[in-house]
């Protein structure tokens, strides 16, 4: 009987379907039985995530499922998500089939088994469960999903999948409602067929088509449901929420995004528990329709009611939540704005006031003592205080003299700079002829797969080529093997995100590491977990005897254990970069301290989330020759930490990177200044609690500073100017990015004193006009790079009027930003500050 039914159904419903798969038919006898037996195979298949034999419980399902499956197979793009979708779909058809059968069979199929089936699915935490909760819903959801996935990337699928969770978020809700209506009004098979057609259509046309179809259906549904205002609203909401959902789903892997608009509907997508708000709507619609329907629909009604009764409570709650949290306008832009507002906090840099509020009393006491010293700093004899006084006097004089309100320079010293006359010849003289090296490099990068050997190529070229390939995303195992041929001395790959474990193992197992001095495998988290290291690089102690530089930036699967074996394999390490290795903890630092205490010279630990500064302090003190310590982004770094560290190790310290260690105050700068006389590079980005006296301490204590990176600090114009006046001649790289108060005093000082300055960053310093920057550019003859991102006040007068032939100005409007960011290659040398037996 069932078999017959399926056969009759097939031609009508499956307009575009091919003949039902014979494999499906034999299962039909199982149909008359309880639905629940069918459930296990379905859930099993779904759980397996395969497209293989779904055992549809009914005859109708098999053909539809089969065809759908087939269709889906032909159009599916992604892997897992598609499998998931299919699994869901399978679940849906199963549910659909159940429904169909129930409806068509006058006999009352036990509906309750369907419900446990459905709830089982739900519990399985798949989208399928969501759809399966309601008769119409699963089908429509499934179809929706299918249509969405048909021509699209997994993203869309995820989106769609995520959407159902957001109660009618997607037009799915509309579709579902539509389907529900159609089910009520028409023969189910035809509905199915139409839906299928819609699905297949969308599948064929691609994602956008699917969207269009869905939207069309949604519109139709909307029109049809004019009386149902609440639903209409929810449909609109659904659609917009669906859009927002897309973002959320996409960012699933990236961590928790803030609650977005209707996400407040208590739908926890990440837990995979999909409650189906949409089902509630459908239920309501169905209930309505059921009321209107003729009694012939009784079985469906019965099925619907029974199936959805359990859901209704939940759905009602959800819908209420959705509706309540949804704004009345429900427009997409508002959704986006809400999302942005909620998530902005993750990216914002907080104002200093917030930090000060949160400062513990200990810090306040320190600050007070610092403030007490404030006057003392400037009274100390020294070039800094002298300079400060001169500058202050000068600006006071200028203020008294000129009250010109017309020009910006009214509050400060006048700047005499006239641009060059021939503004016309500006652009032509600026075009740099591409060098032959660059052309060749680009040609090589384009044809990297054709390179058969890098045998006679010196390391410099290998690194440049590797960098070019990584930047253009063409890096692959072929090139890695080229690099690993022979007995290489340096391997640098700055982006190993493409590298899988197998590829890494294959490549490195044959690698002769006896001559390897530099190994850089940045962002290799995916391919380098501990066990791979144990079997390859760190297989035996001392396997990399001459390795002095190791960079495993971003190796997020590297833990303390892996590091221990690495360290035993590379006993002569001098430079170690473990930035962004989230599993590395203070234990690793003790390991390093114990084995490399006397030899390690550079240690980079930026953004290592598991490291607590005070816990690692005792280990850090064991390093006798540590020249570079980079702890940017580790928020537990405090004044005490710095004070203790520099007291012991300051004599050797040449570079300190303290960006983002927001707890630091002037007292740590005072400690640094007293204890680190040989400091050459200091990075104080985002340290908002520092005041001018910090610069004062620095000027008085660290006489050899060559690189100073300031970003978003609160220093005043006079203080920076005074610092540059005092020690500007040794400065090679100065960054005043976003130091808002930089103005003419600084410009004058830089122009006058910073003769050796090679790189200057004045991005977002809005107080500098063309004349100020022009003066700097023309006076600093060693200047090679000038960055002026965000300086809208600068015009072509500067670009064309300056007479410095060498400088490269980066960041003006309409100039290609990224192509010009050629960083003065600070990483060319394995160890920065001390001369190492390097092959470069």
């Amino acid at each position: 009987m069932v078999v017959l039914r399926s056969r009759t159904v097939t031609p009508q419903t499956l307009a575009k379907d091919t003949t039902p798969s014979p494999s499906v038919v034999p299962q039909s006898p199982a149909v008359p039985l309880l639905v629940s037996p069918a459930t296990p195979p379905l859930s099993a298949s779904r759980r397996s995530g395969r497209l293989t034999s779904r055992s549809p419980p009914t005859d109708e399902t098999p053909p539809t499922t089969g065809t759908k499956r087939r269709r889906r197979r032909s159009t599916s793009a992604g892997v897992c998500s598609i499998a998931k979708n299919k699994a869901v779909d399978e679940g849906n058809p199963a549910a659909d089939v159940v429904k169909q059968e129930a409806e068509e069979l006058e006999a009352s199929l036990p509906v309750s088994p369907a419900t446990p089936f459905l709830s089982a699915h739900r519990r399985s935490g798949r989208l399928a469960s969501r759809s399966s909760s309601i008769d119409g819903t699963p089908r429509s959801t499934g179809r929706k999903r299918r249509s969405a996935s048909a021509g699209v990337s997994s993203e869309n699928e995820a989106v769609v999948e995520g959407n159902p969770a957001a109660d009618g978020v997607a037009s799915e809700g509309n579709v579902i409602a539509d389907r529900v209506k159609q089910e009520a009004e028409e023969e189910t098979p035809q509905t199915t067929g139409r839906k299928r057609i819609a699905e297949s259509k969308s599948a064929e046309e691609g994602n956008q088509a699917a969207e269009r179809v869905v939207d069309v259906i949604a519109e139709r549904v909307k029109q049809e449901e004019q009386g149902n205002d609440g639903k209409g609203l929810s449909l609109v909401e659904n659609r917009s929420v669906k859009r927002t959902r897309r973002w959320t789903s996409e960012e699933k892997g990236k961590g928790k995004l803030g609650e977005v608009g209707t996400l407040g509907t208590a739908i926890d997508v990440r837990n995979g528990e999909l409650r189906v708000p949409g089902t509630l709507i459908i239920d309501e619609g169905r209930a309505e329709r059921e009321g209107r329907q003729n009694p012939s629909r009784q079985p469906s009604t019965v099925v619907t009611e029974k199936a959805s009764r359990e859901e209704q409570e939940r759905l009602k709650e959800r819908t209420k939540d959705a509706l309540s949290k949804k704004t009345e306008s429900g427009s997409r832009m508002d959704q986006f704005k809400d999302a942005a507002r909620k998530n902005a906090a993750r990216f914002a840099h907080f104002e200093a006031q917030e930090h000060q509020e949160a400062a513990p009393p200990g810090v306040e006491a320190a600050e007070q003592s610092t403030e007490g010293d404030d006057e003392k700093v400037e009274d100390w004899p020294g070039p800094f205080s002298t300079a400060m006084k001169i500058i202050r006097d000068r600006s006071n004089r200028m203020n008294l003299q000129s009250e010109r309100a017309t020009s910006d320079k009214a509050n400060s010293v006048a700047i005499n700079w006239t641009p060059r006359g021939d503004v016309g010849g500006c652009n032509r003289s600026r075009t740099l002829v591409p060098s032959l090296e660059q052309l060749c490099m680009e040609g090589l990068a384009k044809n990297a797969d054709a390179i058969t050997s890098l045998e006679c190529v010196p390391d410099v070229f290998r690194h440049r080529l590797s960098q070019l390939l990584c930047d253009s995303r063409k890096m692959n195992t072929h090139f890695l093997n080229l690099l690993a041929c022979g007995s290489p001395s340096e391997i640098r790959i700055r982006d190993c995100s493409w590298l899988t474990e197998e590829e890494f193992t294959d490549c490195v197992q044959g690698l002769d590491t006896s001559n390897l001095t530099v190994l850089q495998l940045d962002y290799s988290g995916r391919g380098i977990p501990d066990y791979v290291l144990h079997s390859t690089l760190a297989a035996s102690p001392g396997s990399m005897p001459v390795l002095n530089t190791l960079s495993l930036n971003g190796a997020y699967r590297l833990s303390d254990i892996g590091l221990r074996s690495l360290v035993s394999a590379a006993p002569s390490l001098r430079c170690l970069n473990l930035s962004q290795c989230s599993l590395v903890s203070a234990t690793s630092i003790s390991i390093l301290g114990d084995s490399l205490g006397s030899t390690l010279q550079e240690l980079y630990l930026n953004d290592c989330q598991s490291i607590d500064a005070m816990l690692m302090l005792p280990a850090l003190l064991k390093f006798e020759n540590l020249e570079v310590l980079s702890v940017g982004g580790i928020e537990s770094v405090s004044d005490d930490f710095i004070t203790c560290f520099v007291a012991v190790c300051g004599h050797a310290t040449k570079e300190l990177v303290l960006s983002g260690c927001v707890k630091l105050t002037d007292s740590s700068l005072k400690a640094i200044a007293t204890a680190c006389p040989r400091l050459q590079s200091l990075n104080l980005s985002n340290l908002r609690q520092l005041t001018d006296s910090a610069l004062g301490y620095l000027a008085n204590g660290c006489r050899e500073i060559q690189t100073l990176k300031l970003c978003r600090n609160n220093f005043s114009d006079e203080a920076i100017a005074a610092f540059v006046e005092a020690y500007g001649e040794s400065l090679k790289d100065l960054s005043l990015n976003n130091v808002k108060q930089v103005s003419h005093n600084t410009a004058l000082s830089v122009a006058r004193r910073a003769n050796n300055l090679q790189s200057l960053d004045l991005s977002w310093c809005r107080n500098l006009a063309d004349e100020a920057v022009g003066l700097i550019v023309d006076s600093c003859l060693s200047l090679k790079v000038l960055k002026i991102f965000g300086c809208d006040q600068l015009t072509d007068v500067l670009l064309c009027g300056h007479s410095n032939p060498v400088v490269e100005i980066i960041g003006m409007k309409m100039s290609p930003a990224l192509t010009n960011v050629r960083v003065i290659d600070a990483h060319a040398f394995p160890v920065h500050y001390s001369s190492v037996l390097s092959s470069m």
Binding site: R428, T431, V433, P434, S435, L436, E437, L439, C440, M441, G443, L444, N447, A450, I451, C456, V457, P458, V460, F461
Partner: protein
Amino acid sequence: MRKEDTVKLISAEGFEFVISKEAAMVSQTIRNMLTSPGSFAEAQHGEVTFPEISTTILEKICQYFHWSLQYASGKETEFPIEPELTLELMMAANYLHT
């Protein structure tokens, strides 16, 4: 072209390429050789020998010199490089600082 305006570049196989001084000066290395204050033999004879650079590569380099002058004067075209030459050409270009 007068003799004083030209330079002779000699490849590893002994091929001699005679080009204008202006073109040769595109290479920083050659420019230093020819214009440095000390009395280098190259400056005196106007000849530079490159024992490590093969003929095909040197020929390509001379073509690059002329292309570079053309580019700087406004006519911006593509400089074609045969893939099989690229590796050696890159190393030679690095040596010549061009």
